[in-house]
Amino acid sequence: MTTRLAYDGVVVCVPVTIPYRRYSVNSAHWWIGRALHELTLGAGIKPKDIDGLIVSSFTVGPDTAVGLTQHFGLTPRWLDHVPMGGASGVIGLRRAARAVQAGDAQFVACVAADTNHVDSFRKTLTSFSRFAQDAVYPYGSGGANASFALITKNYMNQYGATREDFGKLCVAQRDNALAIPFAMMKKKLTLDEYMKARSISDPLHLFDCVMPCAGAEAFLVCREETAKSLGLPAVRILSTIERHNAFPDDPVQYRGGWAMDTDELWQMAGVKPDDVDLLETYDDYPVIVTMQFEDLGFCKKGEGPDFIRGNTFTTDGTFPHNTSGGQLSVGQAGAAGGYLGITEAMRQLAGTPIGKPVRDAKLAVVSGFGMINYDRGLSSGAAVLARA
């Protein structure tokens, strides 16, 4: 039995997405400001009511969250900067929830945003992490592609996954994204096109890789009574997990940190994987999606390929997954990629998705992953969310 404190009385509300753009001449500050503005409008509060702030961004430098308080005229009594890439959403949610629960803040705005100038990607890479600087970027990829190609290759060798398996996930996500107006990828994708697309870093091909863009995602965390008094649709948090640098002795990453804490995730939530209506995974690459299926407990380790073959993943499929298209089709707006699963799950649970709805969505799992420091993603997290 878990000894962790339940998230009673705390909710997430006001999902905000600032529509993505491929390139933007605006700064990350502009995108963060847009998201904050929409949060206040959506919640019906004033900016000065925001007394807690979490920021996740790769391009807000030289500022961190502190500089942004003065930039946006906020005077929070609780502040955090969560630079954990794709795990930032879940981790930010955990932080904010405890702050509200403890009474340290009333309204915690959680914002992830990144701009994308023509040289943003390259500039972000050169100072991503010390290990990346010393031991990854000199080796050819100019990014994470080679590292994930190696993880993908190893997984395929170990468990017999095929490119077709990964392609199925990508095709389904693309179908889900067709209903999202600001999705970067607007055309239907067939498995044939997926298979024939040009190679990026064997065995990864074009449609295995996300498209970096500019954008923002945000949500508000507050007490359940507060959300009710403002008339805001809300989502409850049944459980969360978080882990960094899990399984350091695995020679090549074939499982993420979730595998250490899955039991706790389900025990704390008091539900089973079968009960879940939709799953939003962090999909920087399809192999990581497959690991999340396994490590979150939807199937056993190594059974990912079979699980993919035995299910359909569109909004109306047997296993609704990345129902807004995920980063692979909507785009990766930097750190916002770690939040888009949360905002999508919130909308589906409230019955107001931007794209197609999942029927009778009551229970969702959102999973985050990120920070490929050297040869593996270090950070992982997950949350079980329920319609309030």
Partner: protein, 413 residues
């Protein structure tokens, strides 16, 4: 199977020369421990002095026991390749124009899993040797090589980017009047250079070995006097655009100290031949070399300095000579920084006394000119940049690493 390099065709003079680029070369201070090892051709990783854990990438504390005593030490470089990928496109400008480029994860027998470049003859699952090399930007990188040498191994395009292999390159030996210069000409001819230009100063003065020198295959005698600025400029104007490797064999060895010498004329010669000579060569040939660092199979690759190991610690019996060599060493370090943006390596080859006339009274061990030449060729083939040739040089290097002051006293006798 590595396809052997073919002799490059004549360059199209109307085609723009590809400008040098290099991979990201920023490294943390601790990671420069890899630079130190790669520069001398050693394979070293950090090993915790307390719990003996060997780890990579470089860290400032042991990831097992948090000890701060984590020096770089030689480790077993063998391993097995776990996964490999061929990068087909990259956002990095250097790699972007060199794809497909292979990289992979290797589990070292010593413990860590390392991301490295892969030699073309290395497949997934293969047993490999890891080597630490300096890449085109002079930064340390790992490359997995086949367990045993394979045919044409050095011709692998990825590996050749990290070496200064004389094969198919055009070499300038700056002074062919000496035994060292002549041994160098022979060694480079045999190492597959396309042309070996050999500089001769004062052509009105005969010198021993002249007939043999002229008979060496691929040798072309050119007028060159490193004490004459105009001579260096003229030679560079004529040939500078097709010199890929410079080996500065101009020497000046005389016994005598700083105080224990009568007058300055010999010292002036020393400095003129060695220090100013190096400067003249650098100014004359360096700029063209720097712009040709990415110019195909026979790109400009290296500037080789032959230095007395006493550049590092003065030998009072040859004290003025040692000081001039020290001046050359410092100048070479400057030149190294100046040529790095072009992907051209400055290779410093240190040696003790040679088996040549001005070291005649010095007892062995001494280095024969042919042994020195062989070491230079090998250093270029391996891409190392700091080379110690012979027992004396190795000994000085080892003693310097432990206690330079003790060495100072001991050398003076």
């Amino acid at each position: 199977m590595t396809a052997p390099l073919t002799r490059p065709k004549r360059k199209d003079p109307l085609k723009k020369t590809r400008q040098p680029l290099y991979p990201q070369s920023i490294r943390s201070r601790t990671a420069q421990g890899l630079t130190a090892a790669a520069a001398q051709g050693r394979f070293e990783l950090q090993c915790c002095s307390d719990c003996k854990e060997i780890f990579y990438p470089p860290r400032d504390a042991c990831p097992k026991c948090l000890s701060a005593r984590v020096p770089f030490v030689p480790v077993d470089n063998r391993g097995t390749v776990l996964a490999e990928t061929t990068i087909q496109t990259s956002t990095d400008p250097y790699f972007r124009e060199r794809t497909p480029w292979r990289a992979g994860l290797t589990k070292l027998d010593a413990g860590p899993v390392v991301l490295s470049h892969l030699h073309g003859d290395v497949a997934e699952g293969a047993r490999v040797r890891l080597d630490l090399k300096l890449d085109k930007g002079g930064a340390p990188v790992l490359i997995a090589l086949p367990e045993k040498d394979t045919p044409n191994m050095a011709d692998d395009p990825q590996l050749r980017e990290m070496t200064c292999d004389p094969k198919f390159r055009r070499v300038l030996i700056t002074d062919g009047r000496t035994a060292v210069g002549q041994a160098m000409a022979k060694a480079f001819s045999e190492a597959g250079a396309n042309i070996v230009f050999v500089g001769i100063a004062d052509p009105w003065k005969p010198f021993p070995g002249e007939d043999m020198l002229r008979k060496i295959e691929k040798v072309e005698i050119v007028p060159l006097d490193v004490t004459d600025s105009e001579s260096c400029i003229e030679q560079a104007e004529q040939n500078g655009g097709r010199i890929d490797i410079v080996v500065n064999t101009a020497e000046h060895v005389r016994p005598g100290g700083v105080m224990q010498r009568h007058g300055l004329t010999v010292a002036r010669e020393e400095m003129d031949v060695r220090y100013f000579g190096l400067m003249r060569l650098a100014q004359a040939f360096g700029p063209a070399m720097r712009s040709r660092g990415a110019d195909g199979v026979n790109s400009a690759a290296a500037f080789v300095n032959l230095l007395s190991v006493h550049a590092l610690m003065n030998w009072p019996a040859y004290g003025a000579y040692s000081a001039a060599e020290a001046a050359c060493l410092s100048a070479a370090q400057c030149l190294r920084a100046e040529l790095r943006p072009g992907g051209v390596k400055v290779v410093n080859v240190f040696f003790g006394p040679l088996e040549t006339e001005w070291f005649q009274t010095v007892p062995p061990p001494k280095v024969a000119p042919s042994a020195l030449a062989k070491a230079v060729v090998q250093a270029l083939q391996r891409g190392v940049e700091d080379v110690f040739v012979g027992d004396i040089a190795e000994d000085i290097r080892a003693r310097l690493a432990v206690n330079p002051k003790a060495l100072e006293r001991e050398i003076a006798g």
